[in-house]
Amino acid sequence: MRAEKVSKASLLWLLFTSLLLLVSAPAFSEENNNPDAGLVPSSLDLEQLTELRCGVKKSPEGIGITSSENGASGLGLQRLARKEEDEFEDIPLEPLEFDEEEEIPGIYDPLEPLNRFFFHFNDKLYFWVLKPVSQGYGKVVPKPVRTRVKNFFINLASPIRIVNCLLQGKFESACNELVRTIVNTTVGALGLEDVAREKLDIPPQHEDLGQTLGKLGLGPGIFINWPFFGPSSLRDSVGMLGDYFLDPINYLVPSTKENLAVKGYRTVNKTSLTIGEYEKFKKAALDPYVSMRDAYYQYRREQIKK
């Protein structure tokens, strides 16, 4: 969008990121002495790739699921439950006893009137433009095709995820993300098919610069509800700007007009797959603006914790 104006900023950004890397590298290197971490796979042998997959290896169907499979996996469940116990470490049981006066954390919102204005703007934009266009598009283009288009754009944006995994010292995730990109771009036909998720059980690692900055201890600052982009914070807006330079779309389609067109299409395609979500959210909320602001705050806090 602002590709012409930003060359100076991009230089500054590069400087900033390399500085970040320098600062964070020694801190992270100590806790990450896993020999597998950060290794680029030497060949594309699927077996080996599954080996490279990091974290808890879960069997997607192995855990007791709905009614029919209850009894059979009781033991497995217990074992899994114990293993996952650690995952609760950062989720406090509190407030165990209800404390009326306790203030639950939230995000500072000095721009509320302006943010509310743009909330209504985006709301109208959705119901008057984005929704009808996406619905029309969805009627013409079948769902499997739209899912592939979505996959393509997700795969295309993988540099953002890889770099931010690295910046956060998540070398295993970075490696997973790299494996995903290689497999999906080749076997998955330029990312149209998410082979990595379906066959290798490696889901995308949703990391962005806002989260990286959050990991480094930066708070969200203030809440900003952007026109078109929607809810964000000061920190996450800086992150969005930085991620802009990691998004290949902005290099593949540098001309502002075409760039906007491609991104508009990406949005329409994505929206066509989630129609009804925003409506449900609004139906449940008494003050949709406050509900969205808080949901954004809580959601980002959780993402940064991971």
Binding site: I63, Q78, L96, D194, R197, L286, D294
Partner: protein, 210 residues
């Protein structure tokens, strides 16, 4: 003598703690699973399919949900510091309206059930409180982490908060209520909820577009 006593008491302590642990293990998770299974059974029951059974279906789901949700606790936590200032009648009315609103929201969600799987991952129990962690797996392969917060009421574990992708329902409503109450009276808040429920009714009658 002293030693045997110590040993015996240690043994008793050991067994009571262990016994307690065994009898308690899995209880919150099992109860959540039981409720989830019941609801899935209702929404997938071929005998209840179709528009003409909608009311019956909804009534059955409500029944199951009411057995598992602690509306009093949920409403109280959502009001936060405003709870104490309310009279018994105001509280009762608030709980009723809030329950109605949440049930409708919940019903809308489960009615859209399309073969999502629920993976039961972990539970954590401390005294009368517990957390149960599950993961909802959509057909597209998206994973939605959900945590139930529960409180023990007799032998039943009752849900008082649901945390979806890190977003706590109670905290979210609490922020909304406190924002509304900073500008309006409690009666106006009640009126707002009533209006919301009415809107929902109208939308549901109008049918939903895909």
């Amino acid at each position: 003598m002293k030693r045997t006593f110590l040993l015996a008491s240690l043994l008793i302590l050991y067994f009571t703690v262990l016994g307690y642990g065994i009898s308690m293990a899995g209880a919150p998770m099992d109860q959540i699973r039981e409720t989830t299974d019941k609801i899935i059974a209702i929404v997938t029951d071929p005998a209840l399919k179709g528009e003409q059974y909608k009311e019956q279906r909804r009534r059955l789901i409500r029944q199951v949900v009411d057995e598992r949700f602690d509306w009093y606790e949920m409403a109280k936590r959502c009001l936060g510091r405003h709870w104490r200032k309310r009279t018994e009648e105001e509280r009762a009315e608030f709980i009723n309206l809030f329950e109605e609103l949440l049930e409708r929201t919940y019903l809308d969600r489960v009615e859209g059930y399309s073969g999502e799987k629920v993976l039961y991952l972990a539970e954590k129990v401390r005294g009368r409180h517990a957390l149960v962690k599950v993961k909802i797996l959509t057909k597209e392969g998206t994973e939605i982490p959900v945590i139930y917060r529960l409180k023990k009421n007799g032998e039943r574990w009752m849900v008082y908060d649901i945390v979806i992708e890190g977003v706590s329902l109670v905290n979210n409503y609490r922020k909304q209520f406190s924002s509304i109450l900073s500008r309006s009276s409690f009666q106006e808040l009640l009126e707002k909820i009533r209006q919301k429920i009415k809107d929902k009714e109208r939308q549901n009658e109008g049918g939903k577009g895909e």
